[in-house]
Amino acid sequence: MSDEKKCITCPGCDGARDPKYDEVDKVIAKYRNLEGALIMILHQTQEIFGYLPEEVQRYVAKGLNIPLADVYGVTTFYSYFSLTPRGKYRIAVCMGTACYVRGAGSLVSAFEKELAVKVGGTTPDRLFTLEVSRCIGACGLAPVLTVNEDVYGNIGPERVAGILAKYRDRQ
């Protein structure tokens, strides 16, 4: 068994092949013959692993028989791809113009204070990652933020604690 197939998530196991790689195999098989499919494959791979660590990028490069540099070039160019693990809940405060004009900046500060992390950071319990996003096109409800797939509109800093509590309670 080659190194890159070893599991990278759970400490204390014997390093058996992570079944997630089987899912990646399926994705690669689906798109292998499609020209220019690298970005689509990386999208789905990131969905499987939650992020794109070096081992996974190597695995994709090998599977597609392309240089690792091509894969790394793409993962580092696009802001959608993350090379570091992210929290279970990703909070993205929209920083589009409409949201900015209506006070998205103070929202970010409020989250930074509540979570004690800076933008781009993940809480030590791996529960939340704080990000700022490009315009998500919900300008009519500015300022807007998303937590994974959930969208929240017309949010003031006073509602930050409540939103976080909602996700903490799900634990």
């Binding site: 020209e35 220019g36 499919a37 690298l38 970005i39 689509m40 990386l42 999208h43 091509d70 070039g73 793409v74 160019f77 696009y78 802001s79 959608y80 791809f81 920083m95 589009g96 113009t97 409409a98 900015y100 004009v101 209506r102 996003s133 490009r134 315009c135 998500i136 096109g137 919900a138 300008c139 009519g140 409800l141 500015a142 807007v144 797939e149 969208v151 929240y152 509109g153």
Partner: protein, 596 residues
């Protein structure tokens, strides 16, 4: 088909989905079946109505009643009153900001009165996930007619005659673009739809894909026929999951009916579509960068010429149009070039969709004839500025455009006029700012955006935007000098002239336009070290006007860092060393005694 006496249209665009329309729809559904009305009432999930601020929106036909801010707990009353007893529920009807009387019909609402919906015609009117609803409104008729009755040259002629120009921002003649692609020789060509809507504050493309995806499919197939392409790609932002989902459903449905695939409508023409997701890079809205991204590479632009019409995707001739441009095509072919050219101005025909946002009462998506003035959009449709604040500027063209002052409110909106006054049409973001916005800070905001999104391939853009941003940061932090303004102008000229693609060519625009109309504000920052709007924290210092202070202690109570001292009925004093400039004390003072 069963006879249905009422249609309940529930908006399911991104805006209303965020406001909770799914729960409302479910509650109405339950209530309708509880009262046994299932066979008489049809509930339809539609695309965006445009008036996102007052969502979730529910419209009931045939009356055309427009209900807003609908909550799940309103469902029982709505169904039993309106659908069972035939009485409108007044408390849920729309009320104007100025006029407290409820407006029953959506056509009477100020927000919709001056609008002319062409590209958005079906958005909010049909179930986007049902191809039959699109077909019932003459959908795919233009494609059928083009394939069976017209030559490709005739199709291109009609588009040229209509005067349609690219809605993505460039404003290039769509007909000419099609002609160039058609003239390029080669057996393999591509049609690409640019749905990488990157301008912050613009969301019309998303709404069209969510509300009327079949119009895009139809238009792309027509374009394929006109230029001789049999494969199309829709390049759409990964940030738009609802749009991607609806478009996938629409493509599958079109394939099932043989509208996409081999031998469409019994002709020899074949065409198919596939979706490609973006991955968060603003520069991919530029057509050569978009092509690189579809090819699975880093989205970096290439010098033009050769233009994509000559050598594009996988080096084959490629036609790239924006979503809103495509949305106009089926109607132009159905209703004729003259019909389209009758709307708008001499140089800009038809309508334009604007995303109205910022400090304005009615936020949402509006479609207006070209040539309408900014004032009409902002005041008649947008309902003016909230909280009795004064209008300061409106920003058009996103990071490539500029802020226009109140003196230009009567400017007619078309491609050439907006460019002439130093902004641009762009993709149609229209952000209104009131007196509380600092123009220097807004310029800094846009430079921060373009600097971060610069792909780094060419030096003028990569280094130039970085230097401009540093200067602007310096100014907003109070370390600017008068020379900085000249330096900004000089850098702008170089970046505009020497950058490789549209991103760099237009990146300095927000700075140049704000300098042109709000120079005094820049000067206040560098000379007086003041931020007149009170936004730039470093330039603020709070103090109490002794004559006005009555010593009520309200400000002292609200200060989070105990920077205010003073006892009852004595003039209070702010300790500037302790003050963190949070501004909490200002609105608390009943005597307006605290100034920045």
């Amino acid at each position: 088909m069963a006879y249905v006496r009422s249609h309940v249209l529930v908006c399911a665009g991104t805006g209303c989905t965020s406001s909770g329309c799914k729960a409302v729809e479910k509650a109405i559904e339950q209530e309708v079946s509880r009262l046994g009305l299932d066979s008489e009432v049809k509930i339809v999930e539609t695309g965006c109505f445009g008036f996102c601020k007052i969502g979730p929106i529910v419209m009931i036909y045939p009356e055309g009643s427009f209900y807003c801010y609908v909550k799940p707990e309103d469902a029982a009353e709505l169904v039993s009153e309106h659908l069972l007893k035939g009485r409108m529920v007044e408390r849920l009807l729309y009320r104007d900001v100025q006029n407290p009387k409820p407006t029953a019909f959506f056509t009477d609402i100020g927000f919709y009165k001056k609008q002319k919906r062409v590209a958005l015609a079906n958005c909010g009117a049909i179930d986007a996930e049902n191809i039959e609803e699109y077909i019932a409104l003459d959908g795919y008729q233009a494609l059928a007619n083009a394939l069976t009755q017209m030559t490709p040259a005739e199709v291109i002629h009609v588009i040229k005659q209509s005067g349609l120009r690219g809605r993505g921002g460039g404003g290039f003649s769509t007909g000419l673009k099609w002609e160039f692609a058609a003239r390029s020789p080669g057996p393999i060509k591509y049609v690409v739809c640019n749905a990488d809507e990157g301008d912050p504050g613009a969301f019309m493309d998303r709404s069209i894909l969510e509300g009327d995806p079949h119009a895009i499919i139809e238009a792309m197939a027509i374009a394929g026929y006109a230029i001789g392409a049999s494969q199309g790609y829709v390049y759409v932002r990964a940030e738009y999951p609802i749009a991607v989902n609806r478009l996938s459903i629409a493509i599958d449905q079109a394939r099932q009916l043989g509208i996409l695939g081999k031998g469409i409508f019994g002709t020899k023409f074949s065409f198919d579509l596939s979706i490609r997701l973006g991955a968060g890079a603003f520069v991919c809205g530029e057509e050569t960068a978009l092509i690189a991204s579809i090819e699975g590479k880093r989205g970096m632009p290439k010098p033009r010429p050769p233009y994509p019409a000559v050598r594009g995707l996988w080096d084959k001739p490629t036609l790239i149009n924006n979503v809103e441009t495509f949305a106009n095509i089926p109607q132009i072919l159905r209703k004729g070039a003259e019909w389209f050219a009758a709307m708008g101005t001499e140089g800009s025909k038809g309508t334009k969709v604007f995303a109205l946002a910022g400090n304005i009462n009615n936020t949402g998506l509006v479609e207006v004839p070209m040539g309408i003035t900014l004032r009409e959009i902002i005041y008649d449709i947008g309902g003016g500025i909230p909280d009795k604040k004064a209008f300061k500027a409106c920003q058009t063209g996103g990071p490539s455009g500029g802020c226009l002052p109140a003196s230009l409110l009567d400017t007619p909106v078309d491609y050439d006029t907006l460019t002439a006054v130093g902004s641009m049409m762009g993709s149609g973001g229209l952000i209104v700012m009131d007196e509380s916005a600092c123009m220097v800070d807004v310029a800094r905001f846009f430079l921060e955006f373009t600097q971060e999104e610069s792909c780094g391939k060419c030096v003028p853009c990569r280094e130039g935007t970085k230097r401009m941003l540093e200067i602007l940061e310096r100014i907003t932090e109070g370390h600017g000098t008068p020379d900085d303004i000249d330096l900004l102008v000089e850098l702008s000229a170089t970046i505009k002239g020497a950058s490789l693609c549209g991103l760099g060519n237009t990146a300095p625009n927000p700075v140049l336009a704000t300098l042109r109309f709000f120079r005094a504000e820049f000067e206040a920052h560098v000379v007086d070290k003041k931020c007149p709007a009170g936004v730039c924290q470093a330039l603020l210092s709070y103090s109490v006007i002794a004559d006005k202070c009555k010593g009520c202690t309200l400000c002292k109570k609200v200060c989070p860092v105990d920077a205010i001292s003073g006892t009852l009925k004595q003039v209070h004093i702010i300790d500037r060393a302790k003050c963190i400039k949070c501004g909490a004390c200002v609105p608390k003072c009943p005597f307006k005694a605290i100034v920045r």
